[in-house]
C-alpha cells in the first residue's frame, strides 16, 4: 500500500501537476475583471472567490485518477495482490491530497494578492482550505471512480462533484471551521467505500 501511495504521488506530481494551480490562479485573476477593480469589494468577495477557484481546479485531475488504471488493468492486478478496492481508493485519496493540497495552499497566496485580501483574511482562508482539501480530494477520487468507463466522464464528473462540494464551500467560505472539518471528515471517511464499490461495479 505504501508503494501504491509512492507511485500515485510520483505520477501525480510529474508532468502537468501545476496545471490545476495555473487554472486556479486564472479563475482568481478573472474576478477583478468580473466585479471591477474596487479593492474593498474585491477583498470582501475574496475568500468566496478563492473557494470557487479551488473547486473548479479540483475538477481538472479527476479524469486521470482512476480511468487510466482501470483501462490498463492496474486495478485488476492490485486486486490480485490482495488489496481491497477500498484500500486502493484510500491510497489514491491520500496521494491525491499530497499532490493537490500543498500546491493549492501556495497558489492561494498570490491569489489573495490578486483579490486585495489582507494578511488576516488570507490566513483564515488558508486554514479553511487546509481543512477542506482532504474532503475535496476524497470527493474527486470517489467521483472519478463512479464515472470511470462512462462516455464524457469528465463533464459528468463536474456535474456530480460540484453539488456534493457545496457543504464544504458554505462552511469553508463562512469560516465555520468546526462544521467544515465535520463535512471534510465525513467525505474522507465515506469516499473510500463509495469508490471501492464503484471500482468493483466496473468489473462486469
Amino acid at each position: 500500500m505504501r508503494a501504491l501511495v509512492v507511485r500515485e504521488v510520483r505520477r501525480g506530481s510529474s508532468g502537468l501537476a501545476w496545471l490545476p494551480m495555473a487554472f486556479f490562479l486564472l479563475v482568481v485573476a478573472l474576478m477583478p475583471f468580473a466585479v471591477g477593480p474596487d479593492a474593498r469589494l474585491l477583498s470582501r468577495v475574496g475568500p468566496g472567490a478563492l473557494w470557487i477557484a479551488a473547486l473548479t481546479a479540483a475538477l481538472l485531475p479527476v479524469e486521470r485518477l482512476i480511468e487510466p488504471d482501470r483501462v490498463d488493468g492496474v486495478l485488476d492486478q492490485l486486486a490480485l495482490h490482495g488489496l481491497a478496492e477500498e484500500s486502493i481508493a484510500a491510497a489514491k485519496i491520500f496521494a491525491h491530497w499530497l499532490t493537490f493540497a500543498p500546491l493549492l495552499l501556495i497558489a492561494a497566496v498570490p491569489g489573495a494578492a490578486l483579490l486585495a485580501m489582507d494578511g488576516p483574511a488570507l490566513a483564515k482562508t488558508e486554514l479553511a482550505l487546509a481543512i477542506g482539501t482532504p474532503g475535496l480530494a476524497a470527493l474527486a477520487v470517489a467521483i472519478a471512480a463512479v464515472t470511470t468507463g462512462l462516455p464524457r466522464a469528465g463533464s459528468l464528473a463536474g456535474l456530480l462533484l460540484l453539488p456534493l462540494a457545496i457543504p464544504l464551500l458554505i462552511f469553508g467560505a463562512a469560516n465555520a471551521l468546526l462544521l467544515e472539518a465535520a463535512v471534510s471528515l465525513l467525505l474522507t471517511a465515506g469516499a473510500p467505500f463509495m469508490a471501492g464499490a464503484a471500482i468493483r461495479a466496473t468489473r462486469t
Binding site: 508503494a3 507511485r7 483501462v71 490498463d72 488493468g73 485488476d76 492486478q77 486486486a79 495482490h81 468489473r203
Partner: protein, 182 residues
C-alpha cells in the same frame, strides 16, 4: 494439494449464459488449457479464476494467483525494471528468463507488443504465486518467446505450481484440455 477448484460454476455475462455446471480442479504440478472458439468464455473463465468476476452459481476456491492478460498494468513512463518491481519481489530473474535483460533500462512505452507480452509474463513469473493464470499467452510472442515461456512453465510446475491458460492455439508442453463450446 489443490490450488484451484470450481464446483458447479455457472457464469452469465451481458445476459448470456456462458457456461454452467463447470467442475474443475487443478492440483500442484498440473497445467490445464482452456480451449474453445472465440466468445466461448475462455477469458471470462480466467477472470473468474482470478476473482475479478463473480460466478452466478457455484463455488470457487483458489490459492494466491498471478494473472497475465491483454492489459499491461505497467507504468509506461518508467524503465521496464522499475515498472516491474512495483509489483513486488525482485523481477531480475524473470526479466533474464524471458530474454528482456537488455531492455531493463528502457522505458516501457518504447517496447514492442511482443516485448510487452514478455513483460507481463515476467510479472507473473516474478510474483511467486503458486497459481498462474495466463490469458492467450502466445499472442504477439515470437518462437523464442514461446520457448522461453514453455521453459518457465515447466520449471513452475516442477516446483509445485499450477497453470491455467486460455488459448485457442496449441501450447507447448503437456497440457490437460478443457473444451468450452460456444
Amino acid at each position: 494439494m489443490t490450488l484451484l477448484r470450481f464446483e458447479q460454476v455457472a457464469l452469465r455475462r451481458g445476459g448470456r449464459l456462458l457456461f454452467e455446471g463447470l467442475d474443475l480442479a487443478l492440483a500442484a504440478g498440473e497445467a490445464l488449457q482452456v480451449a474453445g472458439p472465440n466468445g466461448s468464455g475462455k477469458s471470462s473463465l480466467i477472470r473468474l479464476a482470478a476473482g475479478l468476476l463473480k460466478a452466478e452459481r457455484g463455488q470457487i476456491e483458489r490459492s494466491l494467483a498471478a494473472l497475465a492478460d491483454d492489459s499491461l498494468a505497467l507504468d509506461r513512463e518508467l524503465p521496464l525494471q522499475r515498472a516491474l518491481s512495483f509489483w513486488g519481489s525482485s523481477p531480475d530473474g524473470a526479466i533474464e528468463a524471458l530474454g528482456l535483460a537488455e531492455l531493463a533500462p528502457v522505458p516501457v512505452r518504447l517496447l514492442s507488443s511482443g516485448q510487452l507480452k514478455r513483460a507481463t509474463l515476467a510479472r507473473v513469473a516474478a510474483s511467486g504465486a503458486p497459481l498462474w493464470l495466463l490469458d492467450e499467452p502466445l499472442n504477439a510472442l515470437d518462437s523464442d518467446g514461446a520457448e522461453r515461456l514453455a521453459g518457465l512453465i515447466e520449471r513452475h510446475l516442477a516446483t509445485g505450481g499450477a497453470v491455467l491458460s486460455a488459448s485457442h492455439q496449441p501450447l507447448p508442453g503437456e497440457w490437460r484440455r478443457l473444451e468450452l463450446s460456444s
